[in-house]
């Protein structure tokens, strides 16, 4: 499990969450495009 970051738990979670939501979105978009144009 992740350590406790005290007062910063929420902003660290949101920052990593937003960034990796975008990263996963890019990966999914690329994989879908790739399979559509195979």
């Amino acid at each position: 499990m992740l350590p406790d970051y005290g007062d910063f738990n929420a902003i660290i979670l949101i920052s990593y969450g937003v960034t990796f939501a975008i990263v996963i979105g890019l990966i999914v978009h690329t994989v879908l495009r790739k399979s559509r144009h195979k």
Partner: protein, 251 residues
Amino acid sequence: MITWLANPARFVRFARIASPILAACAALAIGAGLWLGLIASPAEQYQGDSVRIMYVHVPSMWIAMMAYTGIAISSLIAYVWRHPLADSVAKNCALPGAGFTLAGLITGSLWGSVTWMTYWEWDGRMTSTLVLLFIYIGYLSIWAIMADKKRAARIAGLLAMVGFINIPIIKFSVDWWDDTLHQKASISTPGAPGLGPEFLTPLFFMMFGFSCLFGWVVINGVLADINSAKRDATQRARDKVKPATVTVETV
């Protein structure tokens, strides 16, 4: 190298080798960066654990500016040398660039909320980064709304080259305007009071991982464009050789 890769057949051969290598490097580096950034690295003396936002904020902004530089250079190559893949490379840099600009703005705003006690300040760095996001949106919109893709490439390429003026503004805004909250460059400036290795290591892992991911997205996007163009060409050839159909009216 650019001229060599401008040939679609050679690009496909290169992409088949580069794509899995980039994917593996991205997965390993981001995995290591996450472990180091969230668990192994210590809290910073003044900022505490909020320094961990840096491990996603700085790589996001690095990709945002690198992607835009890629778009501007590819557009210039497309304008000057008419390389067939340059427009496709430029177009495929835009979506990850816009995504990482948005991530950089959100994470920067959250980081600012605890270090500067404000989510937003209209200073040079933040405003020029917001302008970068708008340029990305404009660039992607041109590609999305124009049916004639050759014309879209010309107009979007022009916007990309003119908009490149914003990149040095983002980079040097912290030096040009003194009334900024954003700190000055502390990693790339020699002799600056920099970060210790315990902070630099996760940062570089994440930057390397995000760069590999960006490369993987662009390469596979261009591959998809090549395959789509091939399919269109085959379809057009088939339509040409198809014998004219005769309709027989039955009584």
